[in-house]
Symmetry: C2
Subunit: 383 residues, 2 copies
């Protein structure tokens, strides 16, 4: 971890680079510049009062003759936990509902059609502790939990699709899951999708709590486009992104919880690579802040026990299939990133780059089927 | 294309950012800093005399108890063509041999064990013209061509593995291929590997000249480690990198030829994502300069015919499995990037992040087999 937390990579570059160099550096780093989106003054004021960053950008596609633009506004929410981690569980959940409620209200002012919160957004990311109590009490039914009901109200009130990643308790099977509940703008639950890949690394002892998801690569047809949710560690697995895309996803959300020392140099790479490789939009969302736990814990790195495991660095962003990306939210503050996408860009870029046609997938299906056998013989040439 | 060509992204940042900010910006952009490698004065002098950039870096792994370090030095060569594109074919080839010969001599002074040249390194990247003559005359036998013989001499002389990407003519099958010839440090040809994915985009009319490779995902066991070659457009296909890794590649070279307007914002993303996702090292190599052709040609973009298709932006770099990367070579000059890798890092990072164990590949083999069927029904949930 760095001693001081830089607020924002982009702002640091903007502060110090001369204009001509800045333009080229940004082009090389971030691709074609995303235009700023005009947001209503009431939203800007409300975000300021409520102490969160509000940024807006748009990706534009080429005008076509036969298809009208397919513009959709996504809202990415990143935030600190509100109460200390030893506050009563219900108080913590209610405080998070309240905080998210006031951010989503601003998202509505900005015309957001689909909003997505961070991973297990109702709770601290407590899996580092390896304690089961009280953390498993944060788990709720995806279908009938208070959090789903809360999100259904938001969806109905604001005519907004809500992607709500929670810790799920499946009473029927006596299991816990890391799940995203997808709620239609009608308020109906469209379905749920579970985290496909579970980390076993450092403070991310998540396989202690839940297992690999069993919902495959479900894609949700919303009024505003087809969406999928690749939760956190699944972003390290290109095949995971790929199968969501093969199932028709136009936007893939990646609600996450990850800290600087571990993953920050990978953060800007993985979701963006997925947008490029799959001709779709990806939305990477990370929480912010440092979460302190009452019981000390170790991190499997030979170091002394401690009460926090580092800084969640925010930096939520949207990547486009043309290789460009939006600026990120800050590394330190709560924030709402509103990005207008024209989903027509996906097919335009697909027609241009043709990765789906040049992918030779049938051959990979065969090669992969052979490679996963325990007696697989790698194709290694020796002298 | 930008009006002026920035020499180097890294140098621009170093020139303008204050030290503390620079350190954080570099950490976020490039990961754990790669140390500079001390290179012998004779090499530095020779590079200066011969007018090419010489840079050296090293990636260090943790010291283990049971395995000694597995250090290997790779050399990435990027260069302009030497003669005008309308010079006699044999003169052009000989001039390239001569240029590469003087660069490889410096690589030998720097202790390089494995050197890799840029895609179809003996010729201009003339596929934009769609003319067959004289360009197909640059094609040579992989086994018995002059260029392979030339590389075998280099390999023997310097005890160096040579990866030589050429336009291959297979007389036996009357076919052309985009091929990398891999020559052992003994001077023997280890084998060849053909470009798996062929672009059909803009000026990259390559499917006009050759087809998708039929050599699968061969990995070459050299004295210095197991290597594979993912040629150019294959870097856009995560499955391609993945299958080289599944076959045991520790270092994957990506000899390329690509221009700024098309791909530059993707350049720093794709090979690096592959290093992360596959727990291996990747080496991205791009040519430099602008190549002018006598006959004018159009680029399928509605614009007027022209005689060049833009600036090859160099920027060759090495990415490590821990998410870090070396600085790039310049965007404008011939260059040799010498990077010392400790291949022990691959297994260390694999043991840490465990992507191969959490990858659920058997399930993807099934899903992919289903998805490639013409009557595949995507898993889309509707309200």
């Amino acid at each position: 971890m760095a001693g001081c937390e830089l607020d924002s990579l982009e702002e640091t570059l903007e502060t110090h680079l001369p204009e001509a160099e800045l333009r080229e550096v940004k082009r090389i780093l971030f691709g074609k510049q995303t235009e700023k989106l005009d947001l209503p003054a009431c939203a800007v004021d409300a975000a300021s009062e409520r102490n969160f960053e509000l940024k807006g950008y748009k990706f534009e596609a080429t005008q076509e003759q036969l298809r009208p633009p397919r513009k959709v506004r996504v809202g990415l929410v990143q935030n600190h936990i509100v109460l200390p981690t030893d506050a009563p569980v219900l108080d913590q959940i209610n405080a998070m509902h309240s905080r998210i409620g006031e951010i989503v209200e601003v998202a509505a002012m900005c015309g957001v059609n689909i909003v997505c919160f961070q991973e297990t957004w109702t709770m601290p990311f407590a899996f580092c502790t390896r304690e089961k109590e009280p953390w498993t009490e944060f788990a709720e039914s995806a279908e009938d939990g208070n959090t789903t009901h809360f999100c259904q109200e938001l969806a109905r009130k604001y005519n907004m699709v809500v992607v709500s990643p929670i810790l799920e308790r499946d009473e029927q099977h006596s299991t816990l899951w890391n799940t995203a509940v997808v709620i239609s703008n009608s308020g109906n639950m469209l379905g749920k999708t579970r985290k496909n890949h579970i980390p076993r690394i450092g403070d991310f002892n998540e396989s202690t709590y839940y297992m690999e998801g069993n919902t495959g690569h479900t894609v949700f047809q919303t009024q505003f486009g087809r969406i999928a949710v690749n939760i956190c560690y699944g972003r390290h697995h290109p095949l995971n992104w790929f199968m969501y895309s093969m199932n028709g996803a136009e936007i893939i959300f990646n609600p996450s919880a990850t800290v600087g020392a571990l993953s920050e140099p990978m953060w800007a790479i993985e979701a963006r690579n997925a947008a490029i490789a799959n001709h779709c939009f990806t939305c990477a969302i990370n929480r912010v802040g440092t979460e302190h736990f009452k019981s000390e814990f170790t991190s499997g790195d030979g170091k002394k026990a401690h009460h926090d495991f580092g800084h969640f660095y925010g930096s939520s962003y949207v990547a486009a299939p043309d290789g460009s990306r939006s600026p990120g939210l800050s590394r330190t503050r709560d924030g709402l990133l509103v990005v207008e996408l024209d989903l027509n860009m996906n097919r335009q870029i697909s027609d241009k780059w043709s990765f789906k046609m040049t992918g030779r997938y049938a051959e990979y299906a065969e090669e992969l089927s052979a490679a996963v056998r325990h007696d697989f013989k790698p194709n290694i040439v020796k002298e």
